[in-house]
């Protein structure tokens, strides 16, 4: 795929898409709610409210956590990393038919379950939450030509105690700028609820998104400057004068949910939930072997690669006059694929497919011992199987593609064969090639909660225990690991345990003190638990339980016309491990670099203030200062990618370096004006300071050895968003009608700052030229906006 083996890039793509979806979902949430909140009624922290939707442009990550957010529906966990799927693409729009029952931050315990991430969203899918209404909504975003249309219908309670909610959504964009790509989505949702008796109900929900989206890629500052376009990226090109996007992803993963809910008596509540998801998700990318690198921003094609100033100028002039040279040239690839004697394809578009099967079950039993003491027992079982294989999506003008592993050199041995039973197989369009394997994973989690309440104190204690196993099945015997690639592996078991405690002391009705602490020992994710899951049944060498622990202290004060909250947090993670594959210039070979036993800490302070001057103006203010640091020098090893031959090992010198690229200091200001009961204006500005490049640990450690450990800071920035919301109400004989107009302008001052920036793993380990493999960036969008019209009646 384009940018082979770049995990950061993959992570970024996921992150970027998730953020976009969070934004879209936030917008929809506002549609569904009556988005004129009364004063001081915010459900979550003021700081989080301000940053959750406005912070993405400055690279904000809540409390510096890379995997900040997770969703739990009906007590069942839907976690990207744990399930190894793209939940955001599959769930987009689903929030219209569920109700959020709680948001826990900083690993707070609550009666929805144990949180497993810094922000946990708990939701319940149940049609009885919605009153009768029909809503038609259209949203248009001129910058990328995106049009979203939704139809939502809720029956309300029928005379036979049924509730039905249905939603249809369609989303597509017409091309305005190829850098912004294409996106289409057709979604349908149905939720049916039946009150069986006064105390028991059953509900069924179904959700399906047919989603396609092209992906953006990062590039160097040099290429971005040459293009003269801050949103430039090299991940698209031309073929026969037509646009072609080799990098895309699609999702066709339908979900079904079933819930049975019973109040056994006034004190006892039982809930049973089941979920099933079966479908596929795929990622397309460019693959090449034994040919010129097709990436237009490859370092050897850039002016900076050349010392000669005349040559540099020639190249600068060439790119400036011909921006299309900074995009992928598919015509050239087609020429090379079709001009050799056998029409062997050296370039292809590869489709990596995940066939997904997930079954989940949850059980919740809650018992009120007294008004002040409650118990709850919670169980969540997850079984999933993900089968991964690759298909040739396009031969780009050739007749066949050879089923060889391009990471492994063709030295006459058979190590480069992907399938020893069918060596040298010529793969046609639509046929499978490469690694083919599946992972089965069963994860059983139990939780026990105790809730205590008194006039002055509220406390809850959560205990969790889980056991998970992974099992790999290889469907090919590859030449690199002929003895460990084919067949069923043993089951690898990993326990997990959680302890969470929170305490709220109500000093007065206006002053609350909050304290919570947690200790988690998590099982690893299957995709990093294995050394090279696609090719070999072998666990990672530094595999230890990941330990997360922390403490959170807060003071909340509610005044007559203001509300304020101050929180201090300290989190630590231990035994982190990961790996990267890259070309190592010292060894002149592709290597796998592993690190383990990495410890890091996040600590800081958050402050939020909300105040109203009069019945019209309301101001929200948020501030945070935090550090996100590596605490030790983790161990590492580097080995050849085409075998287990070790090249070097030792400790990486990373202590005290920033662990993640998120601003150290943030200030956010939100100003709202409720001009009338039907009109609201809102302006939010977010300021960010002290933000660093995402570091490559191996390069960084090497630079430490060379006494050049300065970490490049990214520019500080201010991003401001503005919105207007205007409602028109009118009545007819039979119904009430509402027409809502919503205008959003993002980045009103047109600030151009990076959304994401990272150091490349490849480094000039021979001559130590730091500029040679320069950092890669993706810049945020310039000024942009959307208009939305919603017509609602009941």
């Amino acid at each position: 795929m384009l940018f082979k083996g770049n995990k950061k890039l993959k992570l970024f793509c996921l992150l970027f898409v998730s953020i976009v979806l969070i934004q879209a979902n936030a917008q929809e949430q506002r549609e569904e709610e009556d988005w004129i909140p009364s004063m001081l009624q915010s459900k979550t922290s003021i700081y989080l409210q301000l940053l959750q939707y406005n912070g993405y442009g400055i690279g904000w990550k809540y409390r510096g956590s890379e995997r900040a957010s997770q969703l739990s529906i009906n007590g069942m966990e839907w976690n990207n990393e744990k399930l190894g799927i793209d939940i955001a693409a599959a769930f987009q729009g689903l929030n219209s038919i569920y109700r959020t029952t709680g948001i826990s931050t900083g690993y707070e315990s609550n009666d929805n379950g144990l949180s497993s991430s810094v922000i946990s969203h708990f939701a319940n899918l149940n049609a009885s939450h919605f009153s009768k209404n029909i809503s038609l909504s259209s949203r248009y975003q001129p910058l990328n030509g995106l049009v979203q249309n939704n139809l939502f219908w809720s029956s309300g309670k029928t005379h036979k105690s049924w509730f039905i909610v249905a939603k249809i959504q369609n989303e597509q964009n017409y091309m305005t700028n190829p850098a912004l790509g294409l996106r289409t989505n057709q979604g349908v949702a149905l939720s049916i609820n039946k009150l069986l008796t006064k105390n028991q109900q059953i509900s069924f929900s179904f959700w399906f998104n047919n989603r396609f989206q092209t992906k953006q890629t990062t590039s160097t500052k040099e290429a971005i400057l040459l293009s003269g376009n801050s949103i430039y990226h090299p991940g698209w090109g031309w073929m026969h004068g037509q646009l072609l996007f080799p990098n895309s992803k699609s999702s066709q993963l339908p979900f079904g949910f079933l819930q049975y809910d019973k109040m056994i008596d006034a004190k006892t509540h039982l809930q049973l939930n089941w979920a099933i998801a079966m479908g596929r998700q795929s990622n397309d990318g460019l693959e090449w072997t034994s040919v010129r690198d097709p990436r237009p921003d490859y370092y050897k094609y850039m002016p900076s690669y050349y010392q000669d100033s005349a040559l540099k100028n020639q190249l600068i002039q060439l790119y400036q006059q011909n921006p299309s040279l900074l995009q992928i040239n598919f015509d050239e690839m087609e020429k090379i694929n079709s001009s050799n004697r056998e029409k062997r394809s050296y370039y292809i578009i590869n489709r990596q497919i995940a066939e997904i099967k997930i079954f989940q079950q949850s059980f919740k039993y809650q018992f009120d011992l007294s008004e002040r003491i409650q118990f709850a027992f919670h169980s969540n079982s997850i079984f999933k199987k993900v089968e991964k294989h690759s298909q040739v999506a396009s031969l780009l003008g050739g007749n066949y593609f050879l089923n060889y592993n391009s990471w492994v050199s063709d030295d006459g041995a058979s190590s480069f064969q992907f399938d020893l039973k069918h060596p040298d197989k010529q793969i046609k369009k639509g046929q499978d090639w490469g690694a083919h394997y599946s992972i089965s994973n069963f994860d059983q989690q139990f939780g026990l909660f105790v809730f205590l309440q008194s006039p002055k104190i509220e406390s809850n204690l959560g205990l969790g225990y889980g056991i998970a196993y992974f099992q790999r099945q290889g469907f090919n015997q590859n030449g690199l690991f002929p003895d460990q690639s084919f067949g069923l592996s043993p089951r690898y078991f990993f326990p997990s345990q959680k302890l969470q405690w929170s305490l709220v002391y109500k000093s007065s009705p206006r002053l609350y003190l909050k304290f919570n602490t947690f200790f988690h020992q998590d099982a690893p994710s299957w995709n990093i638990a294995f050394k090279n899951v696609s090719l070999i049944d072998e666990l990672s060498e530094y595999l230890l339980p990941i330990i997360k622990k922390g403490v959170n202290i807060g003071i909340h004060f509610i005044g007559i016309n203001f509300k304020s909250e101050l929180e201090l947090y300290l989190f630590q993670e231990q035994n982190q491990y990961d790996r990267q594959n890259f070309y190592h210039d010292y060894y002149n070979a592709f290597v796998q670099a592993n690190y383990g036993l990495l410890n890091k800490a996040q600590y800081g302070v958050e402050w939020g203030l909300e105040t109203s001057f009069n019945s019209i103006f309301n101001i929200q203010y948020g501030f945070s200062y935090g550090k996100n640091k590596i605490l030790n020098n983790p161990i590492y090893s580097i080995q050849l990618l085409n075998g287990n031959y070790p090249l070097e090992s030792g400790n990486l010198h990373l202590k005290n370096l920033p662990a993640l690229s998120s601003p150290d200091m943030i200030m956010a200001l939100g100003m709202n004006a409720q001009l009338s009961s039907s009109c609201r204006l809102s302006l939010t500005s977010v300021f960010a300071w002290n933000r660093f490049l995402e570091l490559d640990y191996f390069r960084r450690s090497f630079l430490w050895d060379k006494s050049t450990s300065d970490v490049q800071a990214l520019q500080n920035g201010v991003l401001s968003n503005f919105s207007v919301n205007k409602n028109f109400f009118f009545k007819t004989k039979k119904s009430n009608h509402r027409l809502r107009f919503y205008l959003q302008v993002n980045n009103i001052f047109n600030t151009i700052i990076p959304l994401f920036a990272y150091e490349q793993s490849r480094y000039d380990y021979k001559t130590f030229d730091q500029l040679k493999f320069a950092p890669k960036y993706l810049y945020g969008l310039p000024r942009n906006g959307s208009i939305q019209l919603i017509y609602q009646f009941n």
């Binding site: 034994s290 010129r292 050897k300 010392q307 000669d308 040559l311 019209l789």
Partner: protein, 273 residues
């Protein structure tokens, strides 16, 4: 209100049905391809003084056919071209050049802004020279500039090598595809390989003419055939003529260029070798 909705949805319908109208031409100017005066390679080489380098400032081009490239990795970032008058090496800063410039392609190479130089008397065309380190660092034409400088005009599938005897091997044949006959490797070398494949070290192997004289077969340690044993027979060899200072050399495209299947030679001239 109904009207507003109708107008709005009409607009939306219009937006949705408006076809995408982005064209590649809006992202690209035609790369400048002027029709320059065509000079012969022989005349071009006359502009060069051995050990020096000359920036070509005039608009001129050569038309030549590719006689060797990097298909077997015996050449690296280089192709060899010839016209009816002479041959020359073109340094190109790219890999897998054989896919774009296969043997037999006729190229028009625009020379303006390129540099004429030599490496140990072997004349070549490059894009830049850096002398700041005290020695001459030569840079090939960057691959984004290939299209600016090189145009593939047509294919010429059959290229006939020039039959040459030892006494006729001289600099005017540099870069040309030649055929030498009645040659064989020195008997002491017949147990050796073309080059040291394991350590990636190139080698020169003596090729002796039965009629007298020696020319060296130069092979890169990276060549696909570097690890193959040299043939022990006598016969013909096709290759590109090159020089390394005063040493006369030839390099082959692959082992099919060597037809040494006859009996080894004997006689007075041979004994002189």
């Amino acid at each position: 209100m109904k009207k507003v909705s109708i107008h709005f949805y009409t607009c939306m319908l219009f937006i949705l049905t408006t076809p995408a109208c982005l064209k590649q031409s809006s992202f690209a100017n035609n790369i400048y391809k002027s029709i320059d005066s065509v000079v012969s390679i022989k005349n071009l080489k006359k502009l060069h003084y051995t050990g020096e380098f000359e920036l070509i400032q005039k608009k001129m081009s050569i038309e030549a056919v590719v006689v060797a490239n990097d298909e077997s990795n015996n050449l690296y970032k280089t192709i060899s071209v010839q016209d009816s008058t002479a041959g020359i090496l073109i340094l190109l800063d790219g890999v897998s050049l054989y896919q774009t410039y296969p043997i037999g392609s006729v190229l028009r190479i625009q020379l303006k802004d390129l540099i004429l130089t030599d490496y140990r008397r072997m004349i070549q065309i490059a894009a830049a020279i850096d002398t700041s380190s005290g020695s001459m660092q030569v840079t090939g034409i960057p691959s984004p500039l290939f299209e600016k400088h090189i145009l593939v005009i047509k294919d010429e599938p059959v290229i006939r090598p020039i039959p040459v005897s030892y006494k006729n091997l001289h600099d005017s044949l540099q870069g040309r595809l030649i055929k030498i006959s009645n040659v064989e490797f020195a008997s002491a070398d017949t147990n050796l390989t073309y080059a040291d494949k394991k350590n990636k070290i190139g080698a020169s192997r003596a090729l002796r003419f039965c009629t007298g004289g020696t020319v060296y077969l130069r092979t890169s340690g990276y060549a696909d055939f570097a690890g193959i044993k040299l043939p022990s027979g006598n016969g013909d060899l096709v290759g590109v003529y090159s020089v390394y200072n005063s040493e006369k050399q030839v390099f082959i495209r692959d082992t099919s260029d060597i037809l040494l299947k006859n009996k080894r030679c004997t006689g007075a001239a041979w004994l002189k070798n």
